[in-house]
Amino acid sequence: MSTETQSPVLVAGEPGAPIRARRRLPRYAPLGLYAAGIALGAALSALTGFSTALTVVYGAVLGTLAVYAGSRAVEGGRKATDRLVTALVTTAFAIAMIPLVSLVYTVLEKGLARFDATFFSNSMYRVVGEGGGAYHAIFGTLIITALTAVISVPIGLLTAIYLVEYGRGRLKRAITFFVDVMTGIPSIVAGLFAFALFTLVFGNDVRLGVMGAVALSVLMIPVVVRSCEEVLKLVPNELREASYALGVPKWRTVVKVVLPTAVAGLGTGITLAVARVVGETAPLLVTVGLITGTNLNPFDGRMATLPVFAYYQLTQPGTATQAFLDRAWTAALLLIILVMALNVVARLISRFFAPKTGR
């Protein structure tokens, strides 16, 4: 090759050809084609008795085909494929969103009826019909969840630290294996485990809030271990080595370098683990039971919790069926809000505690 010839700009097509001006569909064309598709879809669905869902399905399929064909004619094969795949991905996303939106909508619609001050300030003590609330269940859920966190977070976090920083060989493999097994334990089995354990120790017919916390811990510990382990693995080894090279012992390196570096991820992981267990019903059903009055002492007798509250409102309505159903929906709404709030908290933690780059 002589250096005098200009180096050609390579484009798809002829080597050495100049870059072609790109022919594009005008911006409004896809919109118009989809609108036409939907109109045609409406007509098609009218043939079999009009329905909105069918119109949307027909419209999406027809519109996509039209845009693909038009794009292929004007813009060429690569761009047409791009538009087709974009349409497919968007459709998949829309389908995935349908259950979520529908669920949130339904719960909001039915739960807002009793989302009032009485619901938050009254228990179900001596309530058989209208009125009443979930004061006792809200606090029961908060207390039992907090107790679960108090049990699970130290065990889970320390296990994760052992696995990442200290564990070697057979013991590490065994712990990893059993954590995997624990992740798959059905929640009712966790409940029965706690039930059996406390029955063995305290005799028959024991019902305590702490039993529920133990049962939930069985479910929460593996989640905490897994998420904390992943986060600790992300801490660069160079930081540990930098600390060792300053003559810092290993345990101090873990406490003062590794954990602070990972604190955002640890907080997020733990919060999401709490969110994972806060709505559990089955283990609480067999261990904590339910009462109508307020019991805030997890070491003495039955307690009410939101999921179990909702379950009993639904399955055992008294004479005023609608009042019980309304309370069940509101409890469900409250649980969703609780889980969402925990997710928001997790995001805030990861934003505010992340190491600052300062650039």
Partner: protein, 259 residues
């Protein structure tokens, strides 16, 4: 302060793999010793074995003796943590602690070891160390900013300041300039020249001009082939290594005839 290191019959292993074999060398105090050689020949491994950082890697172990001023670093009653307090290290990639400010990074060695210091005392230490690392003028107005807000060359000098803040006797540097531009490299080379009055410095480098510029003695590591252990081929004053080396292999490597 600066101390002599005597290494005798040192074999370094990763598990069952012998990575470096039979090193005998004496590293002089108050001087810069450079280690050169092709990639994978065990320079860094040897360097890490001098302050017992090698054994941090699972399965890694060492046979032989490393004696610093009469004290065997690998004797059963030598505490690796104490060894590392006396022999500091600067790594290839700058690694300031991301959760700490510039100030906290410098005093990290003391803080992490829970040594209590008065505010004035630690202020003084920070200024002394940062001046020692040629960084003070650039960062004195923003000591509370995160260490990761600095440029790569500044971060590396921050790491040097952090290493000298604990006042070690020996400073090990594992390719400290390989990620830096020529200006930052020059700053660090100047710094090494100043530091050698007080410390014993050992530096691993791929840059032979750098070895020739800064060091008094140079060691050449080589290996016969893949899977073979690396060996210290020649250890001599830098002038001799670069003008009239004893070994043919050294001459070939330095003049670019290798492989």
């Amino acid at each position: 302060m600066a101390k002599r290191i005597e290494v005798s019959d040192l074999n370094i292993y990763y598990g069952n793999f012998l990575a470096v074999e039979g090193v005998n060398v004496s590293i002089e105090p108050r001087s810069i010793t450079a280690l050169i050689g092709p990639s994978g020949c065990g320079k860094s491994t040897f360097l890490r074995s001098l302050n017992r950082m090698h054994e941090v890697i699972p399965g890694a172990r060492v046979e032989g003796k490393v004696v610093m001023d009469g004290q065997d670093l690998y004797s059963p009653d030598a505490d690796p943590v104490d060894v590392r307090r006396q022999i500091g290290m600067v790594f290839q990639r700058p690694n300031p602690f991301p959760t700490m400010s510039i100030y906290d990074n410098v005093v990290a060695g003391n803080r992490l070891n829970n040594r209590k210091m008065k505010k004035a005392e630690s202020d003084e230490l920070v200024e002394r160390s940062l001046r020692g690392a040629n960084l003070w003028n650039e960062v004195k107005d923003r000591l509370d900013r995160p260490g990761s807000s600095l440029s790569g060359g500044q971060q590396q000098r921050l790491c040097i300041a952090r290493a000298i803040a604990v006042e070690p006797d020996v400073l090990l540097m594992d390719e400290p300039c390989s990620a830096l531009d020529p200006i930052s490299t020059l700053a660090i080379e100047d710094l090494m020249a100043e530091l050698k009055d007080r410390y014993t410095i050992v530096i691993v480098t791929h840059n032979m001009q750098q070895a020739a510029r800064v060091s008094e003695s140079t060691g050449f590591f080589n290996l016969n082939g893949v899977g073979q252990p690396g060996r210290l081929i020649e250890f001599n004053p830098t002038e001799k290594i670069f003008s009239n080396p004893d070994q043919k292999a050294t001459e070939d490597y330095i003049s670019g005839r290798f492989g």
